[in-house]
């Protein structure tokens, strides 16, 4: 899959922009705060309907604007497809081939992206919320029913918490309401936990090989799912019923789960150096590319935000080698110094200034 062109309006600091992309490598160059990351973020939001960094969709809308729109024309082995997402203060709308998709689960997963960004460190250093977000976005790319199950779970969770609250206050809802909603919640919780465990197992198996490509003598990397409930969900929800009523909230379930990254079977957060954490999160993303490729049988669009400024040349070269011949890559840099252009294949160098494209340098094979 390739993105042929993208158009943005009212997105972050970008008023309006239209950009044709090279099918292989696109290097976006510009000084700080000019909008480089925003371009990558826009593709992430277009594909997954969420930013890779901000939780609130509204943050992506340009200050003073009502809506932000991102659209792209893509190429799937010669077949063209268009994607549009419109973000507004009240919600988002997505269109695939100009047809509005009411359910996000019918939309997400058609365009696949993997982002490498400075925020990835949060996967190790951040809290369970960041890790769940990573897991959910990743599975969502390869499993449509999962997106649906997750959205049902979230709504039922909200309903269950409303019921629990009301049972303490006004008794608008009775025990039967609680049980009926809990039964449905448990049904989706079980599906979600099972799918997440399978994903984490798959990821874990792929990690040592990815890490060894980036660092010579790091310990063995793995990851383990840490569920808030380790036995049968239905039974535990029954046991926790009175406790939840007293606390007026749902104290267990996939919304309280986590995962732990391990070096030689010990949580790596306790021992790993800054540099090691950096390579670990790179290995995780590289493994994710493979997972997506194995399922959708196409290489996702690869977005590299500021990855090169953080790493030494040897690692940079290894990553580039890792990124397969057929991938379309967009990478950002404040200048071209860290990048050895002569080792690269055909590419475009796109310069950005003040939220606008100021030049596109096209480097074909022949010029190298």
């Amino acid at each position: 899959m390739k993105v042929k062109s993208i158009a943005l309006s009212g997105f972050r600091r970008i008023e309006a922009m239209q950009l044709d992309l090279h099918p292989k490598l696109n290097i976006i160059v510009g000084a700080n705060a000019q909008g480089k990351t925003s371009i990558l973020e826009s593709l992430h939001a277009l594909a997954l309907t969420k930013s890779h960094k901000t939780i609130s969709d509204g943050d992506m809308i340009k200050t003073g604007h009502e809506t932000a729109e991102i659209s792209a024309v893509c190429d799937f082995d010669g077949r063209e497809a268009s994607f549009i997402i419109t973000l507004s203060k009240t919600g988002k709308k997505v269109k695939y081939n100009r047809i509005e998709m009411r359910r996000l689960s019918d939309y997400i997963g058609r365009l696949n992206v993997v982002m490498f960004a400075p925020e990835d460190l949060e996967l190790i250093k951040g809290g369970p919320r960041e890790r769940r977000r990573f897991i959910d976005l990743a599975i969502g790319q390869v499993d449509k029913p999962y997106v649906h199950h997750l959205s049902r779970y979230r709504k039922l969770l909200k309903e269950r918490n409303e019921i629990l609250k009301s049972m303490q206050k006004d008794n608008k809802f009775d025990a039967i309401s609680l049980d009926v909603v809990t039964d449905q919640l448990v049904h989706y919780a079980a599906k979600i936990v099972e799918r997440r465990k399978a994903f984490i197992d798959d990821l874990s198996k792929r990690l040592p090989q990815k890490l060894s490509m980036l660092a010579e003598d790091d310990p063995t990397l793995s990851v383990r799912y840490a569920a808030s409930v380790d036995s049968d969900l239905e039974t535990v929800f029954k046991q926790k019923r009175t406790f939840d009523i007293r606390r007026a909230t749902t104290t267990i379930g996939p919304h309280r789960d986590d995962c732990v990254f391990l070096f030689d079977a010990k949580p790596l957060i306790d021992t790993a150096s800054q540099g090691q954490i950096r390579t670990v999160v790179l290995a995780v993303r590289l493994a994710l590319i493979d997972i997506i490729r194995d399922v959708v049988e196409k290489t996702p669009i690869i977005l590299l935000d500021d990855v090169f400024s953080e790493l030494d040349q040897v690692r940079v070269k290894r990553i580039i080698e890792q990124l397969y011949g057929d991938a379309q890559v967009l990478l950002t840099a404040t200048d071209l110094r860290g990048i050895d252009v002569t080792t690269l294949q055909e590419h475009h160098i796109i310069t950005i200034d003040d939220g606008q494209i100021t030049g596109v340098d096209k480097h074909g094979r022949q010029t190298l």
Binding site: E159, E162, S166, F173, D174, I176, S177, D179, Q184
Partner: protein
């Protein structure tokens, strides 16, 4: 610039309808002004008054009627052993048009929606239970919308009836007529498979 007062008032009145924006309301108002005869206006006013005065829910089933009980409840030829539970009066009309059902109805007037604070007491579940005390009734058929709240409400009623000897059934959900499996969404397919039956 604003319209003269009377015209403005009329436009605002039309805008109270769901789905009617300013432009449509203006078209309706101008249409009223230019095309309606005095009798048309009198008819209009009369029917507006009459719906408010005459139409009320049936004391038994909740379906809209201009009498204390509706024509369906009054019709003794209908199968008194079955009650079909729906969300709105409109659902009754649609099912009646299909001529595929000959029992009684019960209109809930909504669904349980915990995230909007709508609980079992806010819809007509109690009146349903009252009706079920009558020994004639043998079966309750749930025909609620295939929405998340419809599902919760159906499960709730089913739970209430579990301990009784009433038969509680629900209509099957699946592909629409002429429906193409290739275009069906995940939920529809899931429900269609769940509701499969033996040939």
């Amino acid at each position: 610039m604003d319209y003269p007062d009377a015209l403005n008032k009329l436009i605002e009145s039309f805008m109270r309808y769901p789905g009617i924006g300013k432009k449509t309301a203006e078209r309706y108002a101008f249409h009223t002004l230019h095309r309606f005869e005095n009798e048309d206006i009198a008819d209009f006013i009369d029917s507006l008054h009459r719906v408010k005065e005459e139409i009320k829910p049936c004391e038994q089933c909740g379906h809209l009627t201009d009498d204390s009980t509706c024509v369906i409840c009054k019709d003794t030829r209908r199968d008194q052993t079955k009650i079909l539970v729906v969300e709105t009066s409109r659902d009754v009309i649609v099912i009646e048009r299909s001529r595929s059902y000959d029992g009684l109805y019960h209109v809930l007037d909504g669904v349980i929606a915990p995230s909007e604070g709508i609980g079992p007491e806010d819809i007509r579940i109690k009146p349903l239970l009252e009706r079920l005390r009558n020994d004639d009734v043998k079966e309750v058929i749930l025909a609620l919308n295939l929405s998340d709240e419809g599902e919760t409400t159906a499960m709730y009623i089913n739970r209430l009836l579990e301990k009784t000897d009433l038969l509680c059934t629900r209509i099957a959900y699946g592909l629409p007529a002429g429906g193409n499996i290739g275009y069906a969404d995940v939920v529809t397919l899931h429900k269609a498979l769940e509701g499969r039956k033996k040939y």
